[in-house]
């Protein structure tokens, strides 16, 4: 199918590391957009969890980052890039329960080591790359046409 001429919506949001007061606002905006265009509620629920966990990772660990939503009739794509410490061992970070969260973050209910596994679980396609000392890039796809789900 030719997707080249299809309608597309791209929006980029900035995320400030350490700004817990506004944490979650990006995922709320994304959720609103998905509702307005009429995405299936079950898909919105998955996308909301992915967006929120990814946003929180930037808030908790990085200095700053950007969250790009690219929406086409075939898929929801999130690309989250941050400037931060990076992840030395991605396989380890992908394990449920593994966390480098501080005591304060845990007090606030974060850092149960479920963030990345949760994102992967709710995504149809999940890519992660990281450079220690530079930052992390996440690319997550949720497909809207079941037949395209590989």
């Amino acid at each position: 199918m030719n997707h080249g001429e299809e309608n597309e919506l791209t929006q980029t949001f900035d995320i400030q590391g350490g700004d817990f007061a506004h944490a979650g606002s990006v995922s709320t905006k994304i959720k609103e957009i998905l509702k307005e265009v009429g995405i299936d509620p079950a898909v919105i629920r998955r996308a909301s969890i992915v967006a929120y966990e990814a946003e929180m990772n930037v808030v908790m660990y990085a200095q700053k980052g950007t969250f790009t939503l690219r929406l086409t009739p075939g898929q929801i794509h999130f690309r989250i890039e941050d400037e931060g410490p990076g992840i030395p061992d991605i396989d380890l970070a992908m394990q449920e329960g593994f966390s480098t969260a501080t005591e304060e973050m845990r007090e606030m209910g974060f850092g149960a080591g479920m963030g990345l596994p949760n994102i992967k679980k709710n995504a149809d396609r999940f890519l992660i790359s990281s450079l220690v000392g530079r930052g992390t890039m996440l690319s997550v796809y949720i497909f809207l046409r079941p037949e395209e789900n590989p």
Partner: protein
């Protein structure tokens, strides 16, 4: 997609002076001001009543029933919300209030707090067995149920399927009375004495699309005056004896936190006020509150005592209920249903909703996803060109809603005050262009003469 929704709120266009207070207060952005008059977008309204409270012109009218409705029935029963008990001084207890209601013309008055107590037990039973996704959400407030149907359709399965005390009580009363008096159930009128207009729609158009067992709702504000005089003649029970008839589990349903108090071993949250509820629901959507078992949410601040049709100051009435509970605790008075009886009824599905509540998400920007995405992008582009100060002068509640109204053809870009100078400039440019054109035309039209002159001159 268009569907008729019953609403318990009407806009009186004669009285409306277009002051936009309702439009700004509306939590679901369901109000627009067009041609100086407020109007409602029906699918967006969740009947919370915020607009009624803020309207300075008295142009927004809650639709509750007048007293005259009682004459339609052979036998009538008043079922007051426990919030009614909070409207009077500390000495006036439920027994006197119920007696007063009978003097007003009801054949009987029923204490709903007792049923609330039963339902509290039923919720406990349900939570004990429940293994699905959490938290479960209370359905006591019809506005909250509608908020979920409209704005959080993905949370619909979290609404607890236990029926509300008012419906259970009305059903029970009709069955009992019809046997007792040999009347048909439809000859018995069950009237809820309501603290808010939204209960009216939950009667006329229940969220689960079934039929309500209640026949109408009278506003506390309408009943208050007559009831106050009716109670004057009521003989007073001793304070202690009057206390002994109050169900401590149920009385708390009048205020936020009342249900949670009865679920002590559970990890529950109590929240009131729509802005706060929206924050909590956003967190639930993000999967943040999975460790919570139960959320009790009321659209009115402090719960039903804060309803727009109540009389007493919200904090005084909240305090009255709280003090009453403390007194009952101190005196060790329970007067509650027998939990073993409740368990029996529970096993017979007595407490369950008869139908499933379905979501009613807002109509998307377009039925076709591709077109919807295009419109959403255009909406963003328009929004980016707006001042983003949400002044509302255009008649839409904020710049983002205005951008959507323009995309959907329901408003003109030039309705924005800030677009007016730009429009002037465009008009001015258009005028200059026309002017230039006209000069050109003049030159042309004059040129033959010139040519003539020139020719003549040459000659």
């Amino acid at each position: 997609m268009s569907q008729y929704y019953y609403h318990s709120i009407r806009f009186d266009t004669e009285k409306c002076r277009g002051r936009m207070k309702c439009m700004r207060a509306c939590p679901t952005k369901a109000i627009r001001v067009r041609n100086g008059k407020a109007m409602m977008i029906e699918e967006r309204c969740i009947d919370c009543g915020e607009c009624i409270t803020v309207c300075p012109s008295g142009a927004i009218v809650p639709l509750t029933d007048p007293f005259g409705e009682l004459t339609r029935f052979r036998h009538t029963v008043a079922i007051p919300s426990p919030a009614l008990y909070a409207q009077f001084g500390r000495e006036i207890l439920p027994d006197k209030i119920l007696a007063g209601l009978k003097k007003l013309g009801f054949d009987d008055a029923f204490d709903l707090a007792y049923t609330c107590g039963e339902v509290s037990f039923a919720i406990q039973e349900y939570l004990r067995e429940y293994k699905g996704p959490k938290p479960l959400i209370s359905n006591a407030c019809p506005t909250v149920v509608r908020l979920i149907q409209v704005k959080y359709p993905d949370l619909i399965d979290l609404i607890i399927p236990i029926n509300t005390p008012r419906e259970i009580a009305a059903k029970e009363i009709k069955q009992k009375k019809s046997k007792q008096y040999g009347l048909a159930e439809k000859e018995i009128g069950a009237f809820y004495i309501t603290p808010c207009p939204v209960k009216m729609i939950s009667i006329k158009q229940p969220a689960e699309k079934g039929k309500s067992y209640l026949d109408g709702a009278l506003a506390i504000a309408d009943v208050y005056g007559p009831l106050l005089s009716a109670m004057e003649g009521v003989e007073k029970e001793s304070y202690r004896r009057a206390l002994e008839s109050i169900c401590i589990l149920g009385i708390g349903w009048a205020m936020v936190g009342g249900i949670c108090r009865t679920l002590r071993l559970r990890n529950s949250l109590a929240v009131s006020g729509l802005t706060e509820i929206i924050k909590v629901f956003d967190d639930i959507e993000r999967g943040k509150l999975r460790n919570i078992d139960f959320v009790e949410a009321y659209s009115c601040t402090q719960g039903c005592v804060g309803g727009s049709l109540t009389v007493e100051n919200i904090y005084s009435s909240y305090n009255k209920i709280l003090k009453l509970i403390e007194t009952l605790e101190f005196e060790k008075i329970k007067a509650c249903p027998d939990i073993r009886e409740v368990r029996k009824l529970y096993a017979q599905n007595y407490f369950f909703l008869e139908r499933k509540i379905e979501p009613r998400p807002l109509t998307p920007l377009d039925e076709d996803l591709s077109q919807a995405i295009r419109k959403r992008r255009e909406k963003e582009e328009i929004y980016e060109s707006l001042p983003k100060i949400d002044c509302g002068a255009c008649g839409s509640p904020d710049c983002l809603s205005f951008a959507e109204d323009v995309i959907m053809g329901k408003a003109q870009l030039t309705d924005c005050l800030f677009k007016v100078p730009q429009k002037f400039r465009e008009l001015a440019e258009e005028l200059i262009r026309l002017f230039d054109k006209s000069v050109l035309v003049n030159q042309f039209s004059r040129s033959p003469e010139k040519d003539d002159k020139y020719k003549k001159g040459k000659e």
